[in-house]
């Protein structure tokens, strides 16, 4: 009876075993890359909005304060979106006939709200509160990036748990004094640690990593 397997079969068997391991490692690596890429996290991807609102214009050029529109940010869990009346406070006089702003005027006329696509969206099992983060010294820029340079608003952080924990484990790397809370100024690492440690002490910020801090 002739041999079924030739000598080369040995090599084939060994290399395919190694190959499987290599493939698995590569696959996992690829999954990790995809997981943290904008494909999965949506970082840097602009979404179609009813009105192409530009933070670059309103914040960067006109120097509007964040809290002018997101007025609930210091008092409630959500930052709050401006009502149509807030928009029309200016746009009843400026650019009042611009075709781009027709959805705003339409909403003002008949009272139907404008539906904006969410850019920064946490999973529903995470409970985030804007007011307490501000109070502790987390600036807008830490999560939302430099919005004053965004013609269309995009997500700048992956909002993954790993990313949240960077700050929850070492708040001193991110905290800033209340006077700079809406500013997008950033500091070199060493100075940031010095400022952050001071803010931590002043605001009694603790390293909070219990599950129930964010999940319930």
């Amino acid at each position: 009876m002739p041999q079924i397997f030739t000598k080369t079969s040995n090599l084939l068997a060994k290399s395919s075993l190694i190959g499987l391991i290599v493939l698995a490692v590569l696959g996992l690596g690829l999954a990790a890359v995809v997981q943290s890429s904008p494909f999965e996290t949506d970082v840097g991807i602009a979404r179609a909005q009813p009105v192409p609102f530009s933070h670059k214009h309103h914040v960067g050029s006109l120097r509007l304060d964040c809290r002018h529109c997101h007025s609930a940010v210091e008092d409630s869990a959500t930052a709050g979106m401006p009502t149509t009346e807030t928009c029309m406070g200016c746009h009843a006089q400026i650019w009042k006939d611009a075709p781009m702003l027709e959805p705003v005027r339409q909403s003002f006329r008949d009272g139907t709200p404008i539906a904006w696509q969410r850019v920064n969206d946490l999973p529903d099992f995470v409970y985030f509160d804007h007011s307490v983060h501000l109070r502790s010294g987390v600036g807008c820029v830490s999560c939302h990036g430099k919005v004053e340079s965004m013609p269309l608003t995009v997500k700048t952080a992956p909002l993954s748990m790993e990313w949240c924990l960077e700050c929850h484990e070492s708040p001193e790397k991110f905290l800033r004094p209340q006077s700079l809370i809406t500013s997008s100024e950033t500091f070199p690492a060493e100075e940031q640690t010095r400022i952050g440690t001071a803010v931590m002490k002043e605001n009694h910020v603790e390293r909070r990593t219990d599950c129930y801090v964010c999940h319930r």
Partner: protein, 993 residues
């Protein structure tokens, strides 16, 4: 069994070393009546096998395993759907739209107002709590009040006006109404309503009478007993209402009455009773005597309880009256020597506390019995002390009864009948043939929340607006006015009582709010109106509006004649169902799944019979019987209940519905067939016949073996006064043990220093077992209902349960209730067995459950000695109805299939208070801002205390250190953060206990 001062238990044969003065031998189920036709006769394995279609072989097993692995992979990869941010078009300055807001409004309990605070999240009502300002609530809310939230979102609620089954509009109805009522002078209009306390609605009734001179108003409420009013009329000769003051009462004797559990004032009375029961150095504990045929919540709390059937009850009141020196017709009492001794000792005790004692007779007892109780109270000098008699407006009680309406209907003297609320076709005794009488009316209209049995037989059906959608007003039991204000515009086309009465009063469409304001403007004048209106809406009550108290009220001491002696045979008494009332909450799944106190039956009813009755007839729980009296009869299964009189059967109303809705149809048995108007609450001389049928009840699972676990600790109060140290040692016999569990790497070390240490104590001494905490938890934490079959498999999801233990002989045992939430053990057995670290400890001592990590091994539940963990087997929470999704509390995750869940100590409320504290405090101290968990907030007797143990000012810091606190299963050294305070029984020496 009393062991000197404590109830001790050594059912397992091993006798623990108990202190003297303790009660022993607790049990949960009657031994002679095993649960053959009972719950959980189909064990879980059988269910799994049935699902797989027969025997589970290796190949099937691997198949299922593979499928579930694949499913687990797929479900973990669902992409997050895109979401929208939808800001309001108009700005509001008075509040932050995204933060929850509370509105003071009113819940209507059979027409009487109870103040509530309703929470609104982004315009959606999500939770109902009691209004601390309101005299009938004092901050508490009953199970039914809280569950009325589910009613608001119920998709089965009536959604449109209907005429003969066809969908119509309100305009169509108004036209039809005005066409019919062209000649108001001659139109013979009748209204049949339930009790109405609303001042503006009553005012509209007067307007209707002006427009229709022949108009008559009738009132019928299946829970309201006319006997009470007749007795009051007889003794006081004026319309009035007794307002019991349990706060002043040191001795209370109740005759088949449930003041702590039933009626619109139950929450207040329970609170007052509990305040008099706290163990303190400054006040002596009150004492409660109860004479009743079947366990009620009040009877379960009694220090001394006497079981008497319907016959003995009537006699006992005559006997007690005689003891007080009231000369009553003598007669052979249907009482045994021991019963007489019991009553004599009790009355002596009451008479020794004149001005501090009172007698309460059940509303459904005969007029004579209730009149006697009122006379006994005079002898006890109770009036103006422990009972305030409050004036009633004669017009409020001016409605005629149902008998007058039946006569007019049958004589064809009615041109139009408007039924306001209620479901008389279902709730009226069947021998009245109300449906036939209704068919004779040319115009019949039914306004109700559901298109129910009555709607089906009326020409017009009008949808009712839910009270959370309505403007209105109401009076409480003591007459206090409160307003009903809407939190949401009507989800369907419902209209309010004022709007419907308004349509009849002037035939015009007019906003109900304007009509209500019109009335209050006439009462207060345009100048004071604005201030009164705003203040009442904000505070929830109209200050100073309670009814006047009548001083020295007794008018008539004429003695009631002795009723004919009852035939010494079987009696049936009727009671409303403890959870679904007279059937009005039939479609409310929360209340259907809430275990009935004592029997623990869910999703159905049974005839409650005594063990002696069952034994003599060879009956077991679940066996069907037929009860007959003449042509009237009912057929239903029996449930054998300890502590139930053998000559009396209790039948509960509210089941056997056919038009309740998808949830409530075809559960249980309709018992109204045996009732008649004359024998409304009590049917005597009933014959009984065993039938072949057998039913299974879906009863809540029992979790703990009282013999082995020693879960409840009960002591004699007198013994405790003499030997407190012995009791203290008995409660905590074990010396402090070291921690044995090493913290896992995933677990933060429990910090005992400056961090908050959340802790809870539950006072068994005051818990009345009303189950309000279970519904509070369900509403707050988005807990799903599982349905009858799943309850029968032991898969209910309640995060807090209320266990009931009995002690003593089956004829008249003592009952003890024990609420059991998660213990948040510092040495948690669940944590050490979780293979994926899904349950870990927080530095504040919370036993955290991380849903996203949970893979559903259920090891934790197996290892939990308290059995408080709940597993979501079948995705119970994900209803496909969009209405029900609106009801969910947005601060709590809606859990999915295959995930373990349990009490979190309302961590969302902990976080909310912590954030509030962080924003308002500058010194960084945490856990000093008082707040309440949902169960604690709603508890009528304030038995649950929760807070930060490390805060010296917190109440829990005291109760946690109290020598009366003990750990459940303390021998296991789990170091639970939830502890219990021992129960005491204030026995009367000389009374058979």
């Amino acid at each position: 069994m009393w062991k000197d001062g404590r109830i001790v238990m050594f059912a397992t044969g091993k006798k623990p070393s108990k202190a003297k003065g303790a009660l022993a031998r607790f049990w949960q189920e009657l031994k002679d009546f095993p649960s053959s036709g009972d719950e959980r006769s189909a064990p879980e394995e059988t269910a799994a096998e049935a699902w797989l279609g027969g025997r589970l072989n290796r190949r099937d097993f691997l198949g299922v395993l593979e499928a579930s692995m694949a499913l687990a992979g797929i479900t973990g990869c669902t992409a997050q759907p895109p979401e929208f941010l939808v800001p309001a078009a108009k700005s509001r300055e008075d509040r932050i739209l995204t933060a929850p807001t509370y509105f003071a409004t009113t819940y209507l309990h059979h027409g009487y107002g109870i103040g509530i605070l309703a929470e609104s999240h982004l315009g959606r009502p999500t939770k109902i709590e009691g209004n601390p300002n309101h005299p009938s609530s004092l901050g508490a809310a009953s199970a039914a009040m809280q569950a009325s939230l589910l009613e608001l979102y119920d998709p089965d609620r009536s959604q449109s006006v209907r005429c003969q089954g066809a969908t119509k509009s309100w305009n169509d109805f108004l036209q039809a109404l005005n066409n019919r009522m062209k000649n108001p002078e001659t139109f013979r209009l009748r209204i049949l309503s339930e009790h109405i306390s609303s001042p503006s609605a009553l005012n509209l009734m007067r307007t209707i009478k002006k427009r229709f001179p022949l108009f008559e108003w009738h009132s019928y409420d299946p829970t309201d007993s006319e006997y009470r009013n007749l007795a009051l009329q007889r003794v006081f000769d004026r319309p009035c209402r007794p307002d019991y003051q349990f706060a002043k009462a040191k001795r209370i004797l109740v005759f088949d009455s449930d003041p702590l559990g039933e009626g619109a004032d139950a929450l207040r009375l329970a609170r007052e009773f509990a305040e008099g029961r706290r163990v303190s150095a400054t006040q002596a504990m009150n004492r409660l005597y109860a004479v009743e045929p079947s366990f009620t919540l009040t009877g379960g709390m009694a220090d001394e309880r006497l079981v008497l059937g319907a016959e003995g009850l009537a006699s006992s009141l005559y006997f007690c009256a005689e003891l007080c020196g009231i000369s009553v017709p003598k007669g052979p009492y249907a009482l045994k020597k021991t019963d007489k001794d019991w009553l004599t000792t009790a009355m002596e005790d009451l008479l020794a506390h004149k001005g501090e004692s009172l007698v309460v007779a059940g509303d459904h007892l005969s007029v004579e019995s209730q009149a006697l109780a009122l006379l006994i109270n005079e002898k006890l000098e109770a009036y103006s002390e422990t009972i305030l008699l409050r004036e009633e407006d004669p017009y409020d009680r001016g409605a005629k009864d149902i008998k007058a309406l039946m006569a007019a209907l049958n004589a064809g003297e009615v041109d139009g009948l408007v039924l306001l609320g209620g479901n008389p076709l279902y709730t009226l005794p069947k021998d009245l043939a109300f449906d036939q009488a209704l068919a004779k009316v040319p115009l019949s209209v039914h306004w109700s929340l559901y298109a129910d049995e009555t709607s089906a037989r009326c020409q017009w059906h009008l949808p009712m607006a839910h009270s959370l959608e309505s403007w209105g007003d109401a009076r409480s039991m003591n007459g206090t006015v409160s307003f009903v204000q809407p939190l949401i515009t009507p989800l369907y086309q419902g209209r309010t009582l004022i709007e419907v009465l308004g349509l009849i009063a002037d035939g015009q469409e007019k906003n109900g709010l304007l009509r209500m304001q019109d009335y209050w403007k006439t009462r207060f004048g345009p100048k004071d109106f604005e201030g009164m209106w705003k203040k009442t809406l904000r505070e929830g009550i109209l200050a100073g509006s309670e009814a006047k108290v009548i001083e020295r009220p007794l008018k008539n001491l004429s003695l009631p004649a002795r009723p004919p002696a009852l035939d010494r045979s079987l009696s049936v008494i009727f009671r409303t169902d403890p959870t679904i009332d007279d059937g009005r909450f039939g479609n409310n799944a929360w209340l259907q799944e809430l275990p009935k106190p004592f029997s623990q039956i869910t999703w159905g009813n049974a005839l409650i019979v005594g063990p002696g009755f069952a034994r003599s007839r060879g009956l077991k729980s679940g066996d069907h019987i037929r009860l007959e009296k003449g042509p009237r009869f009912l057929e239903a299964p029996v449930f054998v209940q300890a502590g139930q009189a053998d000559d009396t059967v209790v039948a509960t109303l509210g089941y056997g519905r056919t038009h309740a809705g998808r949830v409530g149809n075809h559960h249980g048995y309709d018992t109204a067939g045996l009732r008649s108007l004359e024998e409304f609450w009590l049917v005597e001389n009933v014959t009984v016949k065993a039938l072949k049928g057998k039913s299974r009840f879906a009863r809540r699972q029992r979790y703990m073996d009282p013999g082995a676990a020693d879960p409840v600790k009960v002591y004699d109060y007198d013994f405790y006064q003499k030997f407190p140290d012995q009791v203290h040692h008995d409660l905590n016999p074990y010396p402090q043990q070291p921690n044995i569990l090493k913290p896992s790497p995933l677990m933060n070390a429990v910090d005992e220093s400056d961090k908050p240490a959340w802790s809870m104590t539950i006072d068994l001494n005051t818990c009345i077992g009303c189950n309000a905490c279970m519904i509070a938890c369900q509403a707050e934490n988005n807990i799903p209902v599982v349905g009858k079959e799943q309850v029968a498999l032991g898969r209910e999801m309640h995060w807090i349960r209320v266990d009931t233990y009995y002690e003593g002989h089956e004829e008249n045992p003592r009952a003890v209730h024990q609420p059991v939430p998660c213990m948040h053990c510092e040495q948690a057995p669940c944590e050490s067995v979780c293979p994926v670290g899904a349950t870990v400890h927080s530095e504040e001592g919370l036993n955290q459950m991380v849903y996203n990590r949970c893979v559903g091994t259920r090891y934790c539940s197996n290892n939990c000695p308290y059995k408080v963990r709940r597993f979501n087997f079948l995705d119970y929470g994900q209803g496909d109805d969009p209405h029900l999704a609106l009801m969910q509390n947005p601060d709590v995750t809606v859990r999915s299939r295959g995930v373990m869940e349990k009490c979190t100590y309302c961590v969302q409320r902990i976080r909310a208070s912590e954030i509030e504290e962080k924003k308002t405090r500058s010194d960084g101290v945490r856990g000093r801002l008082a707040f309440e968990t949902a169960c604690q907030q709603t508890c009528p007797v304030k038995a649950i205390v929760f807070g930060n143990r490390n805060d010296p000012k917190a109440e829990v810091a005291q109760t946690a250190k109290s020598p009366l606190r003990y750990d459940l299963l303390g021998a296991l050294n789990t170091k639970p953060r939830t502890g219990y305070l021992a129960k005491f029984i204030n026995r009367r020496k000389g009374v058979q206990g």
